[in-house]
Structures are given as C-alpha cells and as structure tokens.
Symmetry: C2
C-alpha cells in the first residue's frame, strides 16, 4: 500500500517473497490496487507452465505436489504452489497448513506456497486462483502447481486454468468415489495412480486402461497412467517426465495456444460480469433497491424477472 | 411449445407430469418460454418446504432421500425430488438413474423425481435447480428434496436454496473425508448419521457432539444428530420429525423470512448478471469481438482489464 505500483511490480518480478505475498492478499481481498498491479505484471507473464493436480480427498494430493515441487527444485526450476480448497467455505484455516508445508522447503527462496479457500458467495475463486498464478508467473516461477479437491464445478473451472491436468486415483477408495472418474476422465491429461503399493493397484490400473481404450485421444495424446508412492518419493521422476512429454507434444501441435485463447475468453467474460454488476449496483442506492426488490419477490408481490428489469431500466446502463 | 403459456401453466399447477417435465426441460435448455412460464407460476409458489440433503459420495444420500420421500407419501404429502450431480460435468447420464429410482414409486403420481447434471461452463446450475424447485412448488408438491454431493461451492449454493439443510455423515470414510465436516458444519441444520449400524458410529456421534458444543446455536437452534440406517428404513420417522421441528422453530422465529430475502437477493443478482452479459455480447458481432480480444490477451498484446474496458465502451450499456 505504501510503495507505488511500479516499485511493487518490480519487487514481484524480482521474486521478493513479501511483495508476492502482498500481491496475493490484495487479489484475495479484491483490493483495487490488485488490478493496477496485474496490469503492470501482465506483459511479463506467459513463461510459466501450469499443472493442475486434482483428486478426491484421501488420494495424497498434497504429498504428491510437495514431491513434484522438490523434483523441480532439484532441477533448479523456480516453483509456485497454489492449494485451493473450496470445501471450507467458511473457515480460513489455510495459513497454518501453509506453514506446515513450507517447513519441508525451509530456507528455499525458489519455492512459494500459498493456500486459498473460498471467499464470499459471489464466486470468484477460480478468478482469484488464475490471478495468483499470473503473479507467480511474473515472479519468475517456471513451474506452477495448482492443487484442488477433485469434485464440483469450481474444481473443474480451476483445473481448466492449467496447461496440464493430473488426476490422482488410489486403490480401495470404494465404488462411489471411483465413480468420480467419469467426470474427471475427460479433463485428465495424465492419470496418477498414487499409493500404488496398496492392494488393488493392479486392478485399478487395468480398469483405467479399459476405460481409456474407449476414449478418443485428443490430438494424438493418450493419457498415460503413472504409478507413484508419493510418501516414498517413488515414481515422481517418471511423472515429471510425463508432464514434460505432454508439454512438448502440445506445444508442437498448437493445441496449447487454442486452449489459452479459450481460457482467456472465459476470463474476460468473468471480468465483464463483475464490471457490469458494479455499474448497475453502484453505491448504497443500488444495494438498497436490490434489498427492497428482494423483499418484494420474497413476498410474491413481484416476480423475479420483473424485478430485474426494474434494476436494469433504472440505471444508465440501458439506453 | 404448442400450447400457449397460460394453458401450460395451468397444467403445471394441476400437477400434470408431462407439463412439469416439459417445464423442467425448458429451464435446463434455457429456453425463452421458460421465463414466461415461471412468471405465470411465480405467484402460486411459496407453499413448498425445501429440504437440502448433502453428503460426500458413499454416504447413501439417494437411499435416504428415497426413504424420506416414501415417508412423506405415506402421510399423503406430494413430493418432488431434484438430484443434482455436478461431479459429472461432461456426461448426461441422469435419465437412466431417474428411471431406476422412479421404479420404487411406480404408479404414484404424487411424487416427481428429476436428476440434473451440470450444463455448460458459464454456471447456472444452482439457478436452474432453484427454478425447477419453483415449478415443483407451483405443481403442488409440499415437500421438495434437493439432493447434492457435498463438496464444492456449487453444492453450497444449491443447498442454500433450501429451508432446511441436512448433512449426511457415515462412520469410517477416513480422516480426509471427515475433514469436509469443517466446511459443512456451518450450513447444517440437522446432521444425519447414516449407516449407523456400522462400526465407528458411536465415536463419530461423539466427535460431532464435541464439535457442535463449540458452535454457537443460530437463533436458539442446536443442530441435532439423527441416526439412520436408510437401507433398512430405520430412523426415517425421527428424521422427518426433526425436519418438522426445525420448520416450526424457524417459522416462529422469523428467520425463514430473512433467509428467503437473502436468497432472493442472490437470485436477482444472478439473473441481473445474465441479462447484462446478453446485452453486451448480443449477436454474432459481440462474440466475434470477444474472440478477437481473447486472442490478443492470450498473445500478451493487451492486458485483460483493458480488453474488458473495450468491450464495455463499445456497447450501448455505458453512457
């Protein structure tokens, strides 16, 4: 808040931890300076590779992400980790978790870890996650890992930010949980069979291959199944190699550019929405009118469509 | 489509299954006639009581909802069931499920069951669910049960539609799944401990009570823990009695009206958003412009904020 935006942006680009942290907090709080900062940072983004890691609770996502991060650090690539947990809409218990996770990378300035939980009900979690990824990108992180619980539309939206989507499965989570595969099947670029030393791993891998054999490969890419035991650091090198192979494959096929354009189209729509709402509801008057109309609709004195038309016609946004 | 809206609305109000089905399909497809119909139906809504039922996969939601529906049918109350599954964003496998579920209520015109999956990425699932509930309400269903998988923002939004929120837990789903409780804790009006004949049920109930003892009751309501074994129809009467107790409690405290006003405020905001977007992006020109801007942003020729300002200034919606 004290430093002018230009200085702040330079500090972020230099990877200064406090400047990056402040930027993320500004994004989370929807602070007005966040936009000015992102404008300055934007031309310096696009250098990072984003991997989205998703899977049901209990699949060992955090451990896997930690090991992958350590792998990249060994190769001297700077890493950013964003852990998103929309299952805790009311509690902000993210900070403690970050501290615990940071300990295994203590003293390493080349890695930045941040958790985000849902803030408010008017959505915006995937938007905030995307903006945080931009900040880490501008801060020179070459590998950005976005981790999220694998259920629900929010998670799908968040995972769609990524260049490469990893879906984690583990043996023995029960039939109902395995049925989640149906929804995640189509967005997975790589399947990770974690806890592969457990009973049932072979059967799960067979089932996966059977399902995959029914799916058309997208642009010549057949999602591989990589077996890992993240807690023992087993299979992590193979996983990183698979991510790299996917990157090369898609960059040569031009698919990444198409995905990026689609991505930005959705982001622009989201931004447009917030802007338009701000215009219509600006100031206390708009809020008050909305409250009054909501009460009338609630009492069935007015239908919701008529109420919205009133909001629209009363503002300068309609001709 | 053939019958004029007025006739259609009358058929819906009379509870005619085909008219209700057509109304729901129109809502799902975002058909223009859906709005006209809802306008006609709206003054005749408000008579239904909405219970939201949520819980992780594997907790036995569908069975519980079926048993609760059967309980209400025995008391000769008309029932509507909306099963929402946002975990399957790409597949529309809802129809088969409906047929299977309807079989246990075969020939009973007093119950209507419908599944909904996610359509498209620009959201709208909670809006569609809310509109379907309005149709069922207008069709004379006194008890509407909305069932959804208990993770993610979508589900929270959907569950917030309800007058009463049931959160289902089962023993032995593992620590990670139990940690979901943290997020659902605050929205639960009643906890259902299903599969209560399983090992670990007592311990789970103790844990729940311990957690609940730390939470402030809302307007004098302490969320009870009801033990059920839905597959054996055990505990269903107690659950229905608890829902009724909650209804009476909240109707006398005036909290329901407040909740309804809040609910309609959010709904009006959602509607407003769609309307505004339609205005700005009307026709092929708007879409084309959006595509062009998305490509420019993707290539870092323009930052996203500048791009959105261009969209805004080019339309009649800004002065």
């Amino acid at each position: 808040m004290s430093a002018p935006i230009e200085v702040w942006a330079q500090q972020v680009r230099a990877g200064e931890v406090r400047a990056v942290s402040r930027a993320i907090t500004a994004i989370e709080n929807h602070a007005p300076e966040a936009e000015d900062l992102l404008k300055k940072l934007f031309p310096h983004t696009g250098g990072a590779y984003l991997s989205g890691v998703t899977g049901a609770p209990g699949t060992g996502k955090s451990t896997l992400v930690d090991r992958l991060a350590a792998h990249y650090r060994k190769a001297e690539q700077k890493v950013g980790v964003v852990a998103v947990d929309p299952t805790s809409p009311y509690t902000g218990g993210a900070i403690l978790g970050d501290r615990i996770r940071m300990q295994s990378h203590a003293g390493d300035a080349g890695i930045f870890i941040r958790s985000m939980a849902t803030r408010g009900f008017l959505g915006g979690l995937s938007r905030a996650t995307a903006e945080v990824a931009l900040v880490l990108d501008a801060a020179g992180k070459k590998q950005i890992l976005i981790e999220t619980v694998g259920v629900g539309q929010d998670e799908v939206d968040i995972v769609r930010l990524a260049d490469c989507v990893l879906v984690i499965l583990v043996p023995g989570l029960g039939d109902d949980i395995q049925s989640m595969k149906a929804g995640l099947m189509e967005i997975a670029d790589i399947f990770v069979l974690n806890k592969a030393d457990r009973e049932g791993a072979d059967r799960l891998e067979e089932q996966l291959h059977a399902m995959l054999s029914l799916v058309m490969p997208r642009d010549g890419w057949h999602p591989p199944v990589i077996r890992t035991v993240a807690t023992e650091n087993a299979g992590i090198d193979a996983l990183a190699a698979s991510i790299e192979k996917f990157r090369v494959h898609f960059e040569s096929s031009g698919e990444r550019e198409k995905k990026q354009r689609e991505h930005w189209k959705n982001r622009l729509l989201g931004l447009l929405e917030s802007r338009l709402l701000e215009q219509v509801l600006q100031g206390a008057e708009g809020e008050k009118k909305l409250d009054r109309l909501a009460a009338e609709v609630s009492q069935r004195k007015k239908d919701p469509f008529t109420a919205v038309n009133e909001l629209l016609s009363a503002t300068s946004t309609t001709k």
